[in-house]
Amino acid sequence: MPQPVEIPDKIYVGPVIDEGHSLASVSDKIGGIVLKRKITLGWTLGLFLAFGLLQGLAAGAVWLFMKGVGVWGINIPNGWGFAIINFVWWIGIGHAGTLISAILLLLNQSWRNAINRFAEAMTLFAVMCAGMFPVLHTGRPWLAYWLFPYPNTMDLWPQVRSPLLWDVFAVSTYFTISAVFWFVGLLPDLATLRDTAKKPWQQRVYGMLSMGWRGSARHWQRYEKASLLLAGLATPLVLSVHTVVSFDFAVSIIPGWHTTIFPPYFVAGAIYSGFAMVLTLMIPVRTFYGLDDIITLRHLNNMAKVALATGMIVAYGYSMEAFFAYFSADKFERFMMWNRMTGPYALFYWCLILCNILIPQSLWSKKVRTNPLILWFVSIVINIGMWLERFVIVITSLHRDFLPSSWGYYAPTVWDWAVFVGTLGLFMTCIFLFLRVLPLITIFELRMLLPGAEVKEMARQ
């Protein structure tokens, strides 16, 4: 047990979990959200809204399969439009979940225990949304299995030197490991649901999912070891995924993409957008489900600090991009940066600076970090800013590259928007369903934070 440290009032914002909770009360509170809580009107309306948005994806995908990728705004030279922008945006959002569940576990940050389950769920759903785009973008998604190396009658093998193939391996590994880590983390909580459920079908479903978990000390010992190993493996994995995504750009020779700063600055941006999305989702959830005694102001404060820190790395990335475009003395690089700031997409660039750098500076203030409503608005602004960042990177580099004769212009069509909004619907639908069928907070890790979990020295008899 770590020794309590005196924290001066100036920085102390409250406990990790409010006093008055016991082993039984946290189990009943979190389990009760799944087992006892009635389906509310707000949840139903929210699910319907999300499910309605999801129809955009259905319609957009059907129309795309019928007509081909020409229904989107992509053209030559803008071969990568919304599909890649949204892919990178969604993948980035996923990164916060892994950071919270794996890296903060290794760093022994116990405050993460209240938010890791939800953040990991967010990761899974975000990666699902991200995965839609490259597959749809192939134009012939029924042939997507060609991306994997398998013996075939055409005697063709994938190009293993291509970052696009690295992406296939990175994203599929990321999804698989995140799902496995998530399921392993769920086992003890599924057992709690099994044991407290009153309805026979709930007992049966959670019973099967919990695989017969009984909390044996022999099991816990291997379980903890496996969790630690998974965290250790997921930590370099999460850093590698966005590095590989940035290689999609950095390995090319397009001005503005061919830079060595991309991998670290993409990873920081991913964590930045991910924490913003966790805040965007967590703040309403903790209010509507009355969890502000478990997801306390301390959590919001910490998450806002991580967002601020990664946001500053991103700001450094932007300034270095601009500086090296100038310092390289390469006229194409210089033109790219000048065109980004003053060209047809200048508005997007300056909005990006506003959303990602200027407005988040408010997070230096503790008043902002501990005011859920203001923090929620700032987090949404960051989400928008990070989407704009990907738009600016993809479009401003592509639409005017080396030869003025091959310059072009990109504008998304209604089908681009339909698919994008559709994945937002998919994400929200998954979140709404998750809230009602699985415990949204890791109960057994929460128990570890309570005074009742402490093993005291006992006189030997």
Binding site: R161, G212, G215, S216, R218, Q221, Y223, E224, L233, V455
Partner: protein
Amino acid sequence: MSAHIETGHPLYGLMAEFETPTELVHAARRTREAGFRKFDAFSPLPIHELDEAMDLHDNRVSLFTFLGGLTGCAGGFTLCSWCASAFPLDVGGRPLISVPMFIPITFELTILVGGLTAAISMLVMNGFPTPYHPVFNVERFATASRNKFFLCIEADDPKFDRQATATFLESLGAEEIAEVAP
């Protein structure tokens, strides 16, 4: 104390219930010191002190994970080399086995196979899925995943004796002692 110890019908073991993790760790240590080996402690949260008290040091998960990671690493590099050689693309005479470009896939497969091995070896060694286990025959055991702590000494243990073991568990300060039907 409400120990209803009878003789005659078959038995999986005797289960004692405790209120706090401290009592459980204490009881587990005493049980081991008394010479019992076939016993287990059950708790709603991991208790690291139990590893020492029960002398648990199973490192096979780490070993298998390491071997899985190595397999993934070797497999990933072989896969890249195979693909690059089976469909050779000669770019200005550059080597077909271009090691730096193979690192990302090799790395990802190391993580993938290592991670899957960690999870699967943990599940297999814990004997999951376990559709039936005698400890669930004790009604109070449902609280083992909520807020109570249990210790079960199995009847298979050579030192086990219905009456004596029940008395021993009582001496550990158990709140309640129950017989576990097999």
